[in-house]
Symmetry: C2
Subunit: 392 residues, 2 copies
């Protein structure tokens, strides 16, 4: 373990029927709110009706702002900021998945700072305040409901950049697993891959003496692996949906990264791909993560940890002797099992599945290097990135 600080002020309100609690919490955000959502699925599945009923019961006024995209665009969010100013709104209620929540964080910060959204994302404006944010989550995936992170895309420059601020933790997040029962299979799978990737990014670290962090990560991985097929077979199995939703929140609320330095190279690789090709984040991760793992193993790094993943998560037999050869074999078997698991769920395995060819490799690699060499488990540069993209 290395020294760390942990502070997560978000209130979780979890369980079937939890949206009714919104009437008690919405007033914490103010008297006049911006109600932010995405493509409109909440209009079909009844969530919009539940949310607005709760807001009315709370006596809170609201202005609606729908249409936040997957991979949310700074230009769209800037329009929402203008509305916040024009209508003199006090706070933001985001209803949707990770993209909506990430977008709402940018709106909250830009509105309070009277700044341009993209200037905040790239760090040119230092965030020293934000409108208060509450969320109602409708997709288990990004963990944005209980962290301060936000990923925003700029389609003018083909950049997809993550940022965060201590001021963008949601005041509260309402998680009713029923809202995820109508999520189509494809997006359920992307969410599952995203959750598992968040866990794996933090699991792949070099710190010694981390039995708690590793045990927590393995518990979450085993749970998602057990529950994912149930939720896909029977989409309205609310128990399985609840488990996955809960794991998604625990996967990226800071719990797993106390005292360790996770890798996060694969997320950087994926952001480069989806900033150019607009593919789903979860799809990109399913393709890239196994290749990143194999690339690390080829460099002689990570066999012990990936063998541990194999034995503790996938139930592979523990190597009898901890020789390098046995560990490596077990590690490769673990990566195979991971890839097979995602494939069985219906996730893609090759960039070619998205029609991505070799012609823009240099451009992709360029994007991964925006902040220089990346990855903390194994440091990667442009050459490494190209090699991983080629293998993918």
């Amino acid at each position: 373990m290395i020294p760390f600080q942990y502070h997560n002020p978000t209130r979780l309100v979890f369980g079937v029927g939890a949206i009714a609690e919104l009437q008690h919490f919405a007033p914490q955000l103010g008297r006049r709110l911006l109600l932010v959502y995405g493509g409109g699925s909440i209009l079909k599945n009844g969530v919009h009706a539940q949310v607005t009923a709760a807001l009315k019961q709370a006596g809170v006024a609201y202005v609606e702002f729908g249409g936040v995209e997957p991979n949310p665009r700074h230009t769209t969010l800037q329009k929402a900021v203008t509305i916040c100013h024009e209508q003199q709104l006090d706070g933001v209620l985001a209803v949707g998945g990770g993209s909506v929540l990430d977008g709402a964080k940018a709106i909250c910060a830009a509105a309070a700072m009277h700044a341009d959204v993209w200037e905040i994302v790239v760090g040119n404006v230092k965030v020293s305040g934000a409108l208060p944010l509450g969320t109602v989550l409708t997709l288990a995936a990004t963990g944005s409901e209980m962290n301060s992170n936000s990923v925003i895309t700029n389609w003018q420059t083909n950049e997809k950049i993550g940022w965060s601020s201590p001021f963008t933790y949601p005041r509260f997040s309402i998680l009713d697993p029923q809202t995820t029962c109508s999520v189509p299979a494809e997006h359920t799978v992307y969410g599952i891959v995203d959750i598992m990737s968040h866990i794996l990014e933090q699991y792949m670290h070099h710190q010694e003496q981390t039995p708690v962090q590793d045990g927590f990560a393995e518990t979450l991985l085993r749970t998602v692996i057990d529950q994912a097929p149930i939720a896909l077979q029977n989409p309205t199995n609310v128990d399985a949906r609840a488990q996955i939703m809960y794991c998604g929140t625990m996967a990226l609320n800071g719990l797993l990264s106390m005292g360790v330095r996770g890798d996060w190279a694969t997320h950087n690789l994926e952001h480069a791909v989806s900033a150019i090709y607009d593919i789903p984040h979860g799809g990109g991760l399913a393709i890239l993560f196994p290749q990143w793992m194999r690339y690390a193993l080829d460099q002689g790094i990570g066999s012990k940890k990936l063998a541990q993943l194999g034995t503790h998560v996938f139930g592979l037999p523990k190597p009898i002797a901890d020789t390098p050869t046995e560990l490596l074999a077990c590690a490769h078997a673990a990566v195979d099992r991971l890839q097979q698991f995602w494939q069985t769920l219906g996730a893609p395995t090759r960039l070619a599945d998205y029609g991505i060819a070799h012609d823009r490799l240099e451009e992709l690699a360029e994007r991964t290097m925006r902040r220089g060499p990346f990855g903390r488990f194994i440091a990667l540069d442009r050459t490494d990135a190209i090699e991983i993209f080629k293998r993918s």
Copy 2:
């Protein structure tokens, strides 16, 4: 899982050398603080010097208040409240173990409410505010550093009562595992028993579908069981001390009780004993918990969960068939292993070890029933309590 809310605003500052960070955080509590501590061990082990140096560096004034007892007394704390008023103090910095932190929470609430400490503890005064509290932890045990709980003793009425308020979460808690390297073996053991008991109280629940909560609890138990002998063998092994300290915080910060209803009967039984006999809380728990488990098994309750404890935590072979007989045998083996483990560390196994005889059984049972039948895994009444005390 059952619906739940989770909100824990405490900032953890963890790691060797973390006390130096106090200079950055102390001003959050105000300009003039009450520095609360216990019997004075912090004067010997250098922690007092480190803390006061950081306060001076921060330019924060302080008034010292030492002498908070183990099982802290409401009368002592009331004196501290008077000082807060007389000296017009802004906040409280507690430096010590669970008793000091619990006592400081009572001081903070009573000072802000201008109320009597005991009136707050018994709930006659509803807490609607508290002076801001920061802590520097020097003993891994109660988890008080990252929760809002407080247990206070009244020696006039021989009552030991737990209370809590959303206003008594520490603003920050500084955990430097080095501070625990000078804790004597006996108190190290009591702390370990306390930590494991907190985990077990929450682990013993009847909710279905709780793989995450159970997996987290088992991870913490395995880690404490692995690290405890190392810390006792080599008290200055700061890695082992860090693991135990971290587990202590995670054991009772709300993480393990999301979506489950823990039992907590054993804590009620123990509070009755230590309110009369002033024995160490950890010692009482080591005696009572195995007897509570066996009593539950004798009532036909808990064999499945305790067999799970045996296989997942103590490495017992999984029963081949899940027949009641096999599960029960495995469960009893798990309880034996738990008791043996605590005994090996040097914890007591019988109330007689503290010179407690059968003569005040009725009085003890009376105290356990203050709020009526207790325990949520198995509901106990006066007769059950007497039986468990007899067996102990």
